[in-house]
């Protein structure tokens, strides 16, 4: 981009906002394709076909790929193209180990800082999750589960924590989506969530943090077989 100074600068400085949004939209669409497995782990990203399908030009597309690379979802190999990243067992374990500590802190801060309405909202998400569990409606349950963890991080009101949590959760999305849920595993996860709700109702931050950390380390046992 050409650097300009002076008054012209003031006038044109409005333009790039739109471009930023476009780049975000492309990144978001590509992210979904990876999570849902349309773009398979290990496969090469066909830039020409996707640019065509999304109806965008190459510049925002490549920027979007850089964003996804930063999130750890794809790997950009100079002059060899971009591939969807396949997570190794060790990487998934590492991520859950870090996420456990981040959510421990998040749970503690959430109880200290969340407004009563935000606690109610979290409990409402929880109740909806339980209803979906009882109906064995897996996909919407999965989505609300992700939302619950994101919202706890958000109400911690720690910008760094929100960023780290979102970053790791996004890398794990695909794994948790395909995670081979056996009925017992699902029941155990729901039991953990009941504990979280109990701690939230009691406003017990350290307890909520502990339960969330344990829950994530148990998630390893639940996804291990699918790796």
């Amino acid at each position: 981009m050409v650097q300009m100074d002076g008054m012209v600068d003031e006038i044109i400085s409005l333009a790039p906002i739109e471009k930023q949004t476009l780049h975000d939209q492309v990144a978001s669409q590509l992210r979904d394709l990876i999570i849902e497995g349309v773009l398979e782990p290990g496969s090469r990203i066909d830039e020409t076909a996707l640019v065509d399908r999304l109806g965008v030009s190459r510049t925002p597309f490549r920027e979007a790929l850089r964003t996804l690379a930063a999130e750890g979802l794809v790997m950009i190999r100079p002059s060899k193209g971009t591939v969807v990243r396949r997570l190794q067992r060790e990487e998934v374990y590492s991520m859950l180990e870090v996420l456990a500590e981040i959510e421990r802190l998040g749970g503690r801060l959430a109880c200290e800082r969340a407004k009563p309405a935000e606690i109610s909202e979290l409990l409402n998400i929880h109740d909806r999750m339980i209803a979906l569990y009882e109906a064995r409606d897996r996909l919407p349950y999965y989505k609300l589960n992700q939302l619950f963890h994101s919202r706890v991080a958000e109400v911690s009101r720690n910008a760094t924590l929100i960023e780290v949590q979102a970053n790791i959760q996004s890398r794990l999305k695909r794994i948790r989506f395909v995670g081979n849920h056996k009925p017992k595993d699902w029941a155990d996860a729901v039991a953990d969530h009941e504990e979280m709700a109990k701690a939230l109702r009691a406003g017990d931050g350290p307890r909520l943090g502990d339960v969330m950390a344990k829950h994530l380390m148990r998630t390893w046992d639940r996804v291990e077989d699918s790796l």
Binding site: M1, Q3, D9, E97, V98, E101, I102, L105, A159
Partner: protein, 221 residues
């Protein structure tokens, strides 16, 4: 030389200029001027600025020169809370996973720091100090943890450098490093996490002082 390594060298140079206050918070980092001064082309310069933006040291602005970041105390506090959690986890995992060679490496950093403490350039000393923390995260044998720790430590680089210079206290820093190191050698988790806690304890207060002082002395706005 590849563009990447040249860009990294330029980023190192600019980072040190920022830490030394030659480029104070709020100052524009002019791509063209800096490229001319350093005798490099604008492509690696742009890449270097991107590296610094990722570290949170500069804020990019559309169609204008990026500015040296001026994080608020709130942002810094948030980052320290997270960094503390990451360092404590690093210590716990390093107790379990660090190899003898890695512990020996930490011992060498500690000795080096002790040797140069009274004579070294403050910025050089600070870099050795931070390399101790980075090495502990590496010794956790959790790659994501090491990577995340490094990224967020980078964001706090400037304020930590300023507080380290302010609290130039040989005994305090070296004692804390020794506590952590001995704890790792004997695989004593409680001792390691206590040592790490001491290091980060009081950091928020010191940083509050530094930022207040900076606001009052009115650096570039």
């Amino acid at each position: 030389m590849t563009i990447t390594s040249l860009a990294e060298q330029i980023a190192n140079h600019l980072r040190r200029e920022i830490l030394r206050g030659k480029l104070p918070p709020g100052a524009p980092v002019k791509e063209r001027d800096n490229a001319t001064d350093l005798g490099v082309s604008r492509t690696p310069m742009r890449e270097a600025i991107r590296i610094l933006a990722k570290e949170g040291l500069v804020d990019l602005r559309p169609s204008r020169s990026p500015l040296v970041a001026r994080p608020s105390l709130r942002e810094v506090k948030d980052a320290i809370d997270v960094l503390t959690a990451l360092e404590v986890l690093s210590g716990q995992l390093a107790c379990r996973n660090a190899t003898l060679k890695e512990i020996e490496g930490l011992r060498q950093i500690h000795t080096q720091m002790s040797d140069i403490y009274d004579t070294a350039d403050p910025l050089d000393l600070f870099e050795v100090d931070m390399s101790f923390h980075l090495a502990i995260a590496q010794a956790s044998h959790n790659a994501l943890l090491a990577e995340t720790h490094q990224a967020y430590l980078a964001r706090l680089w400037r304020v930590r450098y300023l507080t380290a210079s302010l609290q130039h206290n040989r005994e305090r820093v070296l004692d804390q490093h020794a506590t952590i190191l001995n704890g790792l050698e004997t695989r004593a988790v409680a001792q390691v996490t206590a040592g790490i806690g001491l290091q980060l304890d009081g950091l928020v207060e010191s940083i509050a002082q530094v930022l207040k002082h900076e606001d009052e002395s009115g650096s570039v706005s």
